[in-house]
Amino acid sequence: MSHAAASVVRIEPPRRWIGLGAAELWRSRELLYLMAKRELQVRYKQSLFGIGWAILQPLLYAFVFALFFGRLANIPSEGVPYTVFALAAVVPWLFTSQGTAQAAGSLVAEANLLGKVYFPRLIVPLAKIVSFLVDLVIALAVLAIFVAVYGATPSAGLALMPLFLALAFLTVAGAGLFLATLNVKYRDVAIAVPLIVQLWLFATPVVYPGSLITGAWQYVYAANPLVTVIDGTRWAFLSTDAPDPLSVAISTACAAGILLAGLLYFRRTERYLADVV
């Protein structure tokens, strides 16, 4: 019991400012890993294609988009075959949409757990998002194969790919935390989330090239961090035009803002989560 003195827990009424909880989260990284693993296992257990869904979903989207938007609507694709042009956007987009939607519902889904045992609450939505990173990596591999098959040439931007993905992750984490917290208090968030995600899709250059938006508008457009994520991914894998530096800065600032807002709202609500959920 010599180490007892080292671990004194003081339970008090919450203060206004309680920090971001990063240190505690780091101490619980093992639990985060296990919860994310649980998500993956549960998602693909007893399913016909198992982890194959991570390959099938982006491909299906890409083919359907190619048929309707590439072939029938003749939307330009910056000189790249439309299918692979769409796939390069669908891969980060699916991570974003699925991660956000799943994180949004996560606190309500785990209400019982939250009411019974203490652990850093951030783990619940984060585990959902982290679990989709696995799907993302698989989908990126599929994208790489398609890039080779269609004879497109990657650019030096490939080296920056981790940064674009980090940008996507921060955005998803911010939006997911915000919506998850709101969902605890207001259950109609669950109904609104699919709609929000759908609208977000149109504000993101998934089925069309981001270069369609020009002039001053492109900087307003860049407030959606996914614009930079997808422009960056296309640049990296398909050698389209590199994203505009100012747009990148705006997107990064916005992603940081979304994350901070989501995190602060989450931390403020966390203290009475178990009483409301």
Binding site: S7, V9, R10, I11, P13, R38, G115, V117, A274
Partner: protein
């Protein structure tokens, strides 16, 4: 080191808001309310102190009991100690690693195998992976599920599931163990095992906080206890003295609690004012399965007049909300053509046919075919195990919702000649 304090609570309080702000709602409702409220200020919210001004010290190595009837603040105290919810005022200091067991099997996922769930649940309860690895065999053997570790737990029997869940928790080995009534589950043999495990934890010098309805277990395990009543500390000291106080408050509460309940329906022609349980003419707190039980309902008419054509009903629900008994005076053949303005009506259940467990009682009364008073969850009923069949055996828990008299006999029948193969 024995004089050191492991748990110290000072002036602990937890306030809940009642009414419109309880729980979740729809965003649209929140918005319309906010618009309607413009310029009128906020309406006063109803507040409830579930816990107020509770202070206590638990020295290192002590097993400390917390008793109190439902709504006394036990669960709130547990939740605060387990850091599930934050207190509104006061503070608690916990010296040493804390393990809180508010429920076993929290975070179990039915699709995952026993092995996967052990690691996940262990991590949720605060164990590191190496710790779980080290204790894995012990956990599996304690739970007696060795053959099924790689089977999804959805295929487990409820007994196996529970055993595995408890086994993980039991191997947590914290310095301070906070235990809710996990012992109320499972069969007798398993309950014994759990109690044994807790005794062992106490023997190893751990500090145990045991919160329970199970007075016998508290008496056995805890030399010192605290009684909570209406959110406040009512008594603290040697367990025997505290339990005596507990029984007294239960009686006092049953006598007055019902009168002031705001959550009731009916036209109020008469109202229930008290509910008391009696067995063999004496008030009981925890009736025993198989012994006669009287539910005694006190009532008063609204305007001091006599009430014509009254009926009464008492129904019992399981903790999960399933109806198990419904006793209704007119159906049972009792007619109350005229009631005195105040009185007590007694419903006798010969040989209480409920197995051990926790129930809630609803009370219901009509006057001239109109609902006069209806109180849901009028009282909590904890039934203790008893020899219902007079066989010297206690009915196994979890296998029935009501106990029914039965007789068994056997006689031999001459073997019939086998019929010829059908259909040919």
């Amino acid at each position: 080191m024995s004089g050191e304090v492991a748990v110290r609570a000072t002036g602990l309080g937890k306030e809940y808001r009642l009414g419109e702000h309880t729980g979740y709602r729809l965003l649209s409702e929140a918005l319309t309310q906010r618009v309607r409220r413009l310029g009128r200020g906020r309406p006063p919210r109803e507040r409830l102190w579930a816990l107020r001004d509770v202070s206590f010290d638990v020295p290192r190595g002590e097993t400390f009991g917390v008793v109190g009837h439902n709504g006394a603040g036990k669960s709130t105290l547990l939740k605060v100690l387990a850091r599930v919810t934050a207190p509104t005022e006061g503070a608690v200091e916990l010296r040493g690693r804390v393990g809180a067991l508010l429920e076993v099997g929290t975070g179990f996922h039915p699709e995952l195998t026993g092995r996967e769930n052990v690691f996940l649940n262990g991590a949720i309860l605060g164990m590191t992976r190496t710790e779980v690895q080290r204790k894995f065999d012990e956990i599996v053997d304690f739970a007696e599920v060795r053959r099924f570790v790689d089977t999804p737990v959805k295929r487990y029997s409820s007994g196996m599931y529970l055993r595995l869940a408890f086994a993980i928790a039991a191997h947590l080995e914290p310095e301070i163990l906070i235990v809710d009534e996990v012992l109320a589950v499972g069969d007798l043999a398993f309950q014994e095992k759990c109690l044994g495990r807790m005794e062992q934890a106490a023997g190893e010098g751990r500090t145990v906080l045991f919160v329970s309805h199970n007075l016998a277990a508290v008496r056995k395990l805890c030399p010192r206890s605290m009684l909570l009543s209406h959110g406040r500390k009512f008594a603290e000291g040697p367990t025997d003295a505290v339990l005596d106080a507990y029984v007294r408050t239960v009686r006092a509460d049953a006598a007055t609690g019902l009168r002031d309940r705001p959550d009731r329906q009916g036209n109020g022609r008469f109202r229930f004012t008290s509910l008391r349980l009696e067995s063999a003419g004496r008030p009981v707190d925890v009736p025993v399965s198989g012994r006669d039980l009287d539910v005694v309902l006190g009532y008063e008419s609204r305007d001091g007049t006599r009430v014509r054509h009254a009926t009464f009903a008492v129904s019992a629900y399981t903790a999960l909300g399933a109806l198990v008994l419904h006793c209704q005076s007119d159906v049972a053949g009792a007619a109350f053509a005229e009631l005195p303005p105040a009185g007590e009506v007694r419903c006798r259940l010969p040989r209480l046919p409920l197995p051990a467990g926790r129930y809630t009682l609803n009370v219901f009364g009509t006057a001239a075919a109109d609902v006069a008073d209806w109180v849901q969850r009028a009282c909590e009923l904890t039934v203790a195990e008893g020899d219902f069949f007079g066989s010297g055996r206690v009915p196994p828990q979890g296998h029935q919702t009501v106990l029914v008299d039965q007789s068994w006999n056997l006689h031999e029948v001459d073997a019939l000649p086998r019929p010829a193969a059908a259909g040919s």
